[in-house]
């Protein structure tokens, strides 16, 4: 049951072989058993989860169920969910019970899924190792000495350790794909604007995008069918015709032109990762795909551009956490200025403070043109690279991360090394392109390797097709550490 696909769970529920209440209880028990080791969840709320399961059982009984009704989903603690503690991994929100549902949560509720718990994450989604969470680090279930990746580290761990059939994540610079790669699961960041950002606590508004994390591409397609949709409460949400993301899963790949950026297959990628990626590409050749070498000359600028723009937006987005209306407030202070200083000094962790400082600096009078404006110009150049690349290929592949999961503590003292974890992933956020990671084997210390697939705008169905076809002839996605 813990290894079952969403489709399998769905038919078991439909055929009454198991009830949602039973399924939910099984997963809750497994969480209770294993979570103390992994720390993948910040909050469990059995009362709400079981009430949702019972409601789902009624829907199933009355024939009103949708494809995923009754299936437990782990929600990243960045999504506001009514009645749930919603912390964003921060002391700042350690007492914040959300009075409202995020757009994504609403869509899951309407689909009749069960919220099985809120997953751990880097504080305010800032981090690549899940070590910046106020609620403690998360361990990689493949090797508890390793990081699970971040910022959606709790979600990746929960799916890999089979603590939940699927999870949600958010991705600002790689926060779905990098932990998916490090934990050996599948995850997709859709085209910017497809998934509502309403109620998803903002890190960098122009880069943030929610998406699903699951065992397989097929599961991702079913989850996307729920998550994607226009939301008038988000001005950057796109109004498009409804798509079935599973419609093309079975298409043969013959003739698919896969672009391999020469800049991604160069210095920086470790040998073990390279060998797993090469083997995966061989499988794609077997499936009839054609490899094309492409160039993304400005791709190397992604990290510097990202680390100007993301902190700039974050420094402003996080200003609302001031101790005035909700969240943490310093217990004692002498005046208003002192209240602000102490509240924010106590409420935010070191990485969040670092990014607020960087962001404040790059937006400051006299530096704005040199940093922020310049970064915006480079951002357009990076997007142009991709536009040109897609003249030659349908889809782009490469490694999701330069190395397999690093050890806990290994990079936490070296922010630059940590930031370089996102070297391949952040370009998709800067351009708004859809991108995903799927497991393609193991590297050093038997830690998972992820294949990065970047599609053209709105080509999610094609990407899922490519991933699904690979998963039909391989079984990396079926392997579980526990």
């Amino acid at each position: 049951m813990f290894n079952a696909s969403l489709k399998q769970l769905s038919s078991q529920l439909a055929e009454k072989k198991i009830s949602s209440t039973e399924l939910t209880t099984e997963f809750l028990n497994r969480i209770k058993k294993l979570n103390p080791e992994y720390n993948a969840f910040i909050t469990l709320n059995e009362d709400i989860s079981l009430a949702q399961a019972q409601a789902a059982d009624k829907m199933l009984a009355s024939g009103q169920a949708g494809p995923l009704t009754g299936i437990p989903i782990a929600q990243k603690d960045i999504f506001c969910a009514k009645g749930w503690l919603t912390t964003c991994g921060s002391k700042m929100l350690s007492n914040f019970i959300s009075p409202y549902d995020a757009g994504v949560i609403e869509r899951f509720n309407q689909a009749g899924t069960v919220n099985i718990g809120k997953t751990n994450m880097d504080e305010f989604a800032m981090g690549s190792s899940n070590e910046t969470s106020f609620y403690g680090l998360v361990k990689n279930p493949w090797d508890v000495a390793a990081v699970p990746g971040g910022s959606s580290g709790g979600a990746a761990c929960a799916v890999a350790a089979r603590l939940a059939p699927a999870a949600t994540g958010t991705d600002t610079g790689g926060s779905i794909r990098q932990p998916a790669a490090l934990c050996g699961i599948s995850g997709i960041k859709p085209t910017y604007g497809l998934v509502s950002r309403y109620g998803m606590i903002a890190f960098a508004s122009s880069l943030d995008q929610g998406g699903p994390m699951a065992k397989s591409a097929e599961d991702l397609a079913l989850l996307l069918n729920i998550m994607v949709g226009f939301d008038p409460r988000d001005s950057t949400s796109l109004q498009r015709d409804v798509e079935d993301y599973a419609r093309d899963l079975q298409k043969p790949l013959a003739g698919l032109r896969i672009g391999l950026p020469k800049e991604y297959f160069a210095e920086g990628m470790s040998k073990d990762v390279e060998s797993a990626i090469e083997k995966a590409l061989d499988e794609y050749r077997k499936l009839g795909a054609e490899m094309v070498e492409i160039s993304l000359p400005n791709a190397a600028l992604s990290i510097p551009v990202y680390y100007v723009l993301a902190p700039a937006e974050a420094s402003s987005n996080l200003s609302r956490f001031d101790g005035v209306r909700y969240g943490h407030r310093a217990p004692s202070y002498s005046d208003l200025g002192d209240m602000y200083r102490k509240t924010r000094a106590q409420g935010f962790g070191a990485e969040v403070k670092r990014r607020i400082l960087i962001g404040t600096y790059v937006l400051s009078h006299g530096y704005y043109d040199a940093y922020y404006i310049k970064a915006q110009k480079l951002r357009r150049l990076i997007a142009q690279d991709f536009t040109e690349a897609y003249q030659q290929c349908n889809i782009i592949m490469g490694p999701t991360t330069p190395t397999v999961a690093f050890n806990l503590g290994e990079k936490s003292g070296d922010p630059i090394q940590m930031y370089l974890s996102d070297i391949y992933t952040s370009a998709a956020n800067l351009t708004g392109l859809p991108a995903m990671s799927i497991p393609v084997g193991f590297g050093d210390k038997n830690r998972p390797v992820g294949l990065h697939i970047i599609g053209n705008y709105f080509m999610e169905a094609q990407m899922l097709n490519a991933a699904h076809q690979y998963q039909q002839i391989t079984d990396w996605h079926l392997q579980s550490p526990v």
């Binding site: 919603t86 914040f96 606590i201 960098a204 001005s235 937006e313 404040t360 937006l363």
Partner: protein, 479 residues
């Protein structure tokens, strides 16, 4: 030395939308604290702004009415600073590309016309209110006002006296009400002025260092604050000092301005485009559509009143001081187009006097334009005298006889004697009874004429048509 005062105004005009600029919460004034602040106004984690189309439409209306350029796209930017009544820690405003750019407004001071250029007008959200009364040793925050739509209208430094500044503010105030984008209620803060004031030696070009005076919520305070500030700056300069650029607050009780903050402790607002809002595109067809719904502008009406009704510029200005007054005038004058001056006199005289006295708006005037027109017709056709008309007017105002002019005239016996034969008879009678005065007049005593008129009016209880009596008497005495 002769000094010249240079003034530019920034006006925050609250747009009359029912909901806020980025949320669906109500903008109604006076609700209990924090009852009109939704999750978006409270800046809960995860909430996002969605622009209110009605606010944009109102900004476009202002732009069209001052001949400005409507920018498309225009950009919303974040102005970052910390304050407890600013829930997000930034205000959404417009910085580099405002929705309205340029344009101008005609003002009149002592009968002289002057053109005041506008720099720009941009959309932004209002902050909440800090309540510094004591709440158990703490300050209170009311976020009802947070997110209320504002249009900040910025003028060029084109005004040279407090009188010009007041004329500009009044003209703009009338305009925003005229085009229906702002209720103009200054007590409730719907129309707030900041004045940038500097002085320079007369006949020089270079602008002096300016001080900004904040939150002038009446035209009188605007005038007094500018006068005080200009005097203050001139005194400093004449004593050999220099002006420090700063923001000052006007204290109405002491009639003085004082330092609020200097340039040195000004915030670095770190403006940048708001990534939660797309660039605002205003397609031409929408602008054209808005144009269709615009009323005739005050300046156009003023010119029409002068050319069509031969009114003086002064009368035309007074009648177009508000759209309601102008509409009232037009509804009256259509009934008797040849008597525009009579209509204007009565509206600016009796009607406006009575409204002022009772403190009510013309929209709530108890006498309708149609009813007034009937009264004025009775004056112009000689049925009643102007003096009697005032009596009728008072009766109408207090609602007597359903405000029926003819019924009131009949009931009060105010009908004027205008029949030539009747008047001749009257005159003959009076002449016969006052032989002495007739003799006096014929001997050159002009005064006797007035006495005879008085006798006739007395005999008719003032109802005889004075012009006719006058003419008949002259004729008879000349016989």
């Amino acid at each position: 030395m002769q000094w010249e005062i240079v003034i530019g105004l920034e006006v925050h005009s609250q747009l009359s939308t029912r909901s806020k600029i980025f949320s669906g919460a109500s903008t109604a004034y006076g609700a209990p604290p924090n009852t009109q602040a939704c999750v978006i106004d409270l800046a809960l984690p995860g909430v996002l702004p969605v622009l209110n189309k009605g606010a944009v439409e109102r900004a476009v209306k202002l732009g069209l009415s001052v001949g400005a350029k409507i920018n498309s796209p225009s950009i919303f930017a974040r102005k970052n600073y910390f304050y407890p009544d600013l829930p997000k820690g930034y205000q959404i405003s417009q910085y580099e590309l405002p929705v309205v750019q340029g344009g101008s407004i005609q003002i009149q001071v002592n009968g002289v016309e002057k053109n005041i250029r506008l720099t720009r007008a941009h959309l932004e959200e209002d902050a909440g209110k800090s309540l510094h009364e004591d709440f158990h040793g703490m300050s209170g925050i009311d976020l009802n006002r947070a997110g209320t739509p504002l249009l900040e209208i910025v003028s060029e430094p084109d005004m040279r006296s407090s009188a010009e500044a007041v004329a500009y503010a009044k003209t703009l105030h009338a305009l925003v009400r005229w085009i229906g984008i702002c209720d103009g209620n200054m007590q409730e803060g719907s129309f707030r002025c900041d004045a940038n004031v500097s002085v320079r030696p007369r006949d020089t070009e270079k602008l002096g260092t300016r001080c900004e005076i904040k939150n002038l919520n009446s035209f009188r305070f605007l005038e007094k604050a500018i006068d005080f500030e200009a005097r203050r700056q001139i005194e400093i300069l004449e004593d050999g000092g220099t002006i420090r650029q700063e923001t000052r607050l006007y204290d109405a009780n002491k009639d003085e301005t004082r330092t609020m903050r200097t340039k040195e402790d000004a915030n670095d607002y770190r403006y940048f485009p708001d990534p939660d809002l797309l660039p605002l595109e205003i397609p031409q067809h929408w602008i054209d559509q808005i144009k269709q719904t615009m009323p005739e502008l005050p300046q156009v009406r003023r010119d029409r009143y002068v050319s069509k009704f031969a009114l003086s510029a002064y009368d035309a200005s007074a009648l177009t001081s508000s759209r309601e007054t102008a509409d009232y005038f037009e509804a009256t004058v259509t009934q008797l187009p040849a008597q525009a001056k009579l209509c204007a006199n009565w509206i600016m005289g009796e009607i406006s006097g009575q409204l002022n006295k009772e403190g009510i708006e013309i929209a709530a005037c108890p006498i309708s334009p149609e009813q007034l027109a009937v009264l004025l017709m009775r004056i112009s056709d000689g049925t009643i005298s102007g003096k009697a008309a005032k009596t009728v007017f008072e009766s109408m105002w207090s609602g007597e006889l359903d405000k029926n002019v003819d019924a009131i005239i009949a009931a009060k016996g105010l009908k004027q004697i205008s029949d030539d034969n009747a008047i001749e008879q009257l005159v003959d009678q009076v002449l016969a009874a006052n032989a002495q005065q007739v003799a006096d007049y014929r001997n050159g005593k002009e005064k006797a004429f007035n006495s005879l008129i008085g006798q006739i009016m007395k005999a008719t209880q003032g109802k005889a048509n004075p012009a006719q009596v006058n003419a008949m008497l002259k004729k008879k005495l000349a016989e």
